[in-house]
């Protein structure tokens, strides 16, 4: 009985956290945030060198063969540092192919995703909305025609896993004819999104895509929940730190009871959620019958908490928290992304309700 992390898992988190402390401090985050395409080659290469490109890809295909929980722990750590870059879409593309590809398809794509020689992404929502596999509307086939929105880092991606009507998954590769990628004005400048158009664009369907779609959905929900956990925790830390430093009326503002209680309430919103995220990730590999429910609850709960705590963090910083100059906005906007990407909390609460 151990509802906690193994030493290896703690080490993994520490390693990633240590790397980010050096390579991705807030000042670096801000540079990438302000940059044209939001993609920092050096940072991403560094992450790949740590093996973050293929954490959950099976060892036989060049990955580390770890579990969703390990992936979630990394996502949490990246979220805490507001790490800019394509981790989310890349990880999901690898999971999708690992879950739904034929052996040949896995051989073809996974090793390059694991090393990061090729960058992956996912395109899971159409123009009319609907993130759930049963809502996907793009007609499947050897050639795709239509549009998908909110595709992370599609402007950099070498291959995109696309959700198709009926819950299937197809892979479209960079440079395919009729593929058109246009940058989208996304609020979260650490995770850029694009609109992707297909016009008779050649695509290869994953062999058992329909079976893999649910796993892809759940993994995505867990990674967003984990990112939100990391981000929300950092928000609490930033606010507490500010309250311990900033003075008003001759004392640290953290000694004022009203602010102190607001900070306590923020902490109580966030800290108890850690186990919820762990369990949702754990269930994906070990308690399959509870996986969908746990992932839905975790995504809904954590992204709501992150958004609320993000608002509280702006307030706790006073006027300065509302400025572009303040780092607070970076986490605030990541919260907006986490909450909407793959569907809002209400959507997943309604799904979870079906299990009662």
């Amino acid at each position: 009985m151990d509802f906690g992390l193994t030493e290896e898992q703690q080490l993994l988190q520490q390693t990633v956290a240590g790397f980010l402390e050096n390579e991705c401090p807030p000042v670096r985050v801000r540079e990438i945030f302000e940059s044209e395409d939001g993609f920092d080659e050096t940072l991403w290469k560094g992450m790949l060198e740590l093996g973050l490109g293929g954490l959950a890809i099976p060892e036989e295909y060049g990955g580390a063969g770890l579990e969703i929980l390990d992936l979630a722990l990394v996502a949490e750590t990246l979220g805490a540092a507001a790490t800019p870059g394509p981790f989310l879409g890349h990880a999901l593309a690898g999971l999708a192919i690992a879950a739904g590809g034929s052996d040949a398809q896995k051989q073809r794509w996974l090793p390059a995703l694991a090393t990061g020689d090729r960058l992956g992404s996912v395109a899971l929502v159409g123009e009319d909305g609907g993130w759930l596999p049963e809502e996907w509307s793009l007609a499947p086939g050897a050639a795709l025609t239509g549009k998908q929105r909110f595709v992370p880092f599609a402007h950099q991606a070498d291959l995109i896993v696309v959700g198709t009507a009926g819950g299937g998954l197809s892979v479209v590769e960079r440079g395919a004819p009729g593929l058109e990628v246009s940058a989208y004005p996304g609020v979260d400048r650490t995770r850029r999104v694009c609109e992707v158009g297909f016009s008779s664009t050649p695509a290869e369907a994953l062999e058992s895509g329909a079976g893999a779609a649910d796993r892809l959905r759940d993994a995505g929900l867990v990674l967003l929940a984990a990112d939100a956990l990391g981000g929300a925790s950092r928000c609490v830390e930033m606010s507490v730190e500010y309250a311990k430093t900033r003075e008003q009326f001759g004392v640290k503002i953290g000694s004022f009871q009203a602010l102190k209680h607001q900070l306590a309430d923020m902490a109580v919103e966030v800290e108890p959620c850690r186990g919820l995220v762990w369990y949702a990730a754990h269930a994906m590999d070990h308690v399959p019958e509870e996986a969908a429910h746990a992932a839905a609850v975790a995504k809904a709960h954590l992204t709501d908490r992150f958004m609320q705590v993000g608002r509280d963090t702006v307030e706790a910083h006073g006027g300065i928290g509302f400025t572009w100059e303040s780092d607070v906005q970076v986490w605030f906007k990541r919260a907006m992304f986490d909450r909407a990407f793959l569907g809002q909390p209400a959507v997943h609460r309604e799904r979870a309700a079906a299990d009662w």
Binding site: P185, Q248, L259, G318, I320, F322, E325, V328, F332, A340
Partner: protein
């Protein structure tokens, strides 16, 4: 309860309308003037006719009318309908003019009140500094009397309109030996001089409604001081706030709610218009209760003004109440936006009294609902004021000690 304005006032409304019909829009050559020039020409006539600058003595360029909040309300309504320029808005008319009228020298009133109420001269406010938000006693900008002028050095923040203002009214520490509030003076500064560096302060929405103002050996004449040396904090506090437009405040909230209803009609939930979703309807209904309460509170306050009564506790609550409602509206809007909640506000700023139409506008509103709280002092300061001045609770110990 009598919600009609009554015959006498309806007749007055007719006079206002007749004036507007005859005078707005400008015609002939005047129609070719710039917007700003047209506003000046028109305001002069409206002041002469007694419709604008009503509380300002004629000697200083006003129309010196007897106080009558209902006439004021009618003027606002009719001028609004005709899209005619009303009283010059901004911090100059709201704060500087009442301060000058109350505490200024005769020559100061002569020089500044008229052009300010006309909208010819504009002001910005130099109170806040980085590091001193609600705690003004800790401000650090210093003024030294050198010869017959002040030399001012320091930094101000949250200075709205600084890039286009002609002057700044400013709190400056002139008596370094004096304790806290006692060392502060209220100075007027010409903004068009070297040594003043105005830098827009970009907000998380991408807009810049405020500025930082750096003052580096900035000069102002010795007698451009309101009140005595060291009285600045008192002078700034005795400023009678501009008669609050409680109706206008509530109308803005109502407009925002109507915009939210519209958004709910256009958004989808499970394939249906979101406004059909029972969960959305309940949340809308809760907000409607708050919004209508706020609206009728506005009427109550107007009525109290009309009767010369103190509106009481409710007036201290307006700010926090409308901030709270704006928060609720913004949160539901974000939910209604769905996927569009990941879009960028694209530099859309706050809309004065209007509801946003597209997603970027609502996203800006979502973020600005936080900024609103900040601009008027944070919510916690408001709660202190309500608790202490409104409910008569004892002062806070820490704050008490520092006074």
């Amino acid at each position: 309860m009598d919600l009609s304005y009554g015959a006498e006032y309806e007749q007055y409304r007719g006079e206002v309308a007749a004036f507007l019909k005859a005078n707005w829009p400008l015609e002939g050559d005047e129609a070719g003037l710039s917007h700003a020039e047209q506003a000046l020409v028109f305001r002069k006539r409206a002041i002469e006719a007694g419709f604008l600058a009503r509380s300002i003595p004629k000697a200083y360029g006003g129309s010196e009318q007897p106080a009558d909040a209902l006439r004021g309300q009618i003027i606002r309504e009719e001028f609004g309908k005709a899209h005619a320029p009303g009283d010059a808005r901004g911090i100059g008319t709201m704060m500087l003019v009442p301060t000058l009228l109350d505490r200024g020298e005769e020559w100061q009133k002569q020089k500044w009140v008229g052009p300010t109420v006309l909208g010819e001269t504009t002001w910005c406010q130099g109170y806040s500094e980085p590091g001193s938000g609600s705690d003004l006693a800790s401000l650090k900008t210093r003024g030294e009397l050198v010869g017959d002028g002040w030399v001012i050095n320091g930094q101000k923040i949250w200075t709205s309109g600084a890039h286009r203002a002609d002057y700044m009214f400013c709190l400056v520490r002139t008596e370094p030996e004096a304790q806290k509030h006692a060392g502060i003076s209220y100075l007027l500064i010409d903004m068009k001089q070297p040594g003043i560096d105005v830098r827009p302060l970009k907000m998380m929405t991408g807009t810049s409604e405020f500025n930082e103002v750096f003052l580096n050996d900035v000069k102002t004449p010795k007698d451009w001081i309101v009140g005595k040396r060291g009285e600045g904090w008192l002078v700034s506090r005795t400023t009678l706030k501009h008669e609050r437009n409680s109706i206008g405040d509530a109308s803005a909230t109502e407009a925002l709610f109507k915009g939210l209803l519209d958004l709910a009609r256009r958004s989808k939930r499970g394939g249906q218009p979101a406004i059909e979703d029972p969960a959305v309807r309940q949340r809308l209904g809760e907000i409607e209760g708050y919004m209508l309460s706020h609206k009728y509170s506005g009427y109550r306050q107007l009525s109290a003004q009309l009767k010369g009564e103190n509106p009481g506790l409710i007036a201290t609550m307006n700010k926090l109440n409308s901030t709270n409602i704006a928060h609720r509206i913004a949160k539901l809007a974000l939910d209604l936006l769905g996927d569009d909640g990941m879009l960028d506000p694209q530099g859309q700023g706050a809309l004065m009294g209007m509801a946003p139409k597209g997603a970027p506008g609502w996203l800006s509103q979502y973020m600005s609902s936080l900024g609103v709280a900040i601009a008027g002092g944070t919510a916690n300061i408001q709660r202190n004021v309500i608790g202490e001045r409104g409910l008569g609770l004892p002062r806070d110990m820490a704050v008490q000690r520092s006074k």
